[in-house]
Amino acid sequence: MHEMISLYIDDELSIKEKLVFLDRIHHDRSYFLSAADFVRYEQRLQSDVVDDLPDICLPDVFLSSPGKKRWVVPLAIAAVIVLCVLWLSPFYQRMEPLTIERRFVLYQPGAVQVEISGTFTGWKPVPLKQVGTSGYWELNLELAPGEHRFSYIIEGERVLTDPTVLAQEHDDYGGMNSIIVVENKA
């Protein structure tokens, strides 16, 4: 019941809880005094008395400047024209394929669901298929050449890196991702 005081302070009471809370503070003086006390402490906790925030230096690319933008539009137009020419040219159409097929395999006997999530799936989980009763799970995906990050998700909860891939890195969520580089071999 006392945690309702924090829910009141943090605006997290449901309508039903609000009624219960109001009834309690109306009829129970000690509860009312306790709630008022917590609100006073919260007022102190939330007070901000740092008048000057420290100056931080964001990299120049994040800072706006009218002078820096003068070249952006003509460059963008030139880039679009070049891309259109390349796209339509016979030379470009004879060039290497845009995607490379990559097979992902993981050994997880006993699992009922294995998914993969990475830069090539928009970080949405995509299910792998079981290979008979072997305990292996696999999926073939078309990947664009370049560097990709991914991890496997077991039963919708446990996250695993690829045991066959050496390169790994921390993500911003306290987990780890495997890193692979897809190259054109044609």
């Binding site: 006392h2 945690e3 402490y41 906790l45 008395v49 994040f62 706006s64 911003d172």
Partner: protein
């Protein structure tokens, strides 16, 4: 003002407040704030950036610093006391804030993190729950316990 600068100006006060409550170290809070904004602005597209993401990144950086045993304790506010231009009321408010910071440092880091998040941001319990990885039903109990512990610490000092 472009996207980057707007994002920075909109959220810097809240983020710095959170980091001061976590670290009680003006310099360190500034360093973590810089690292956090740089990571978010350089890694995520504008439509992906938001308050919850910024705080998730900042929290990870701050907890990493704690794991590496960075030194805390200097609030960096002493120099303000040397300048009485604000008058007596301003000095009293600052002293009260320093006591609150010291009280927060006596909590364990999980409790301090929860109180710093609720006090510094308009994030809902659901959003905080996703950031800290505690279910909402447990979160509401943990937050109130943290407030109770902080109150007991401050009551003992007065």
């Amino acid at each position: 003002m472009d996207d980057y600068e707007a994002f920075y100006r909109e959220h810097r006060c809240k983020l710095f407040s959170y980091l001061m409550r976590m670290t009680a170290d003006y310099q360190l809070a500034g360093d973590i704030m810089q690292e956090s904004f740089t990571r978010v602005l350089s890694t995520y597209a504008p439509e992906e950036r938001g308050l919850a993401l910024l705080f998730r990144v900042a929290r990870n950086v701050a907890l990493d610093c704690m794991r590496k045993n960075r030194i805390y304790g200097e609030t960096g506010l002493e120099q303000d006391f040397a300048d009485p231009a604000g008058g007596e009321k301003r000095i009293m408010v600052r002293e009260e804030y320093r006591e609150m910071l010291n009280g927060l440092q006596k909590l364990d880091k999980e409790d301090r993190d929860l109180l710093a998040l609720v006090a510094s941001t308009p994030l809902s319990y659901d959003e905080i729950s996703e950031i800290v990885g505690i279910r909402n039903a447990n979160l509401r109990v943990r937050i109130h316990r943290a407030r109770t512990r902080l109150k007991q610490i401050l009551d003992r000092r007065e």
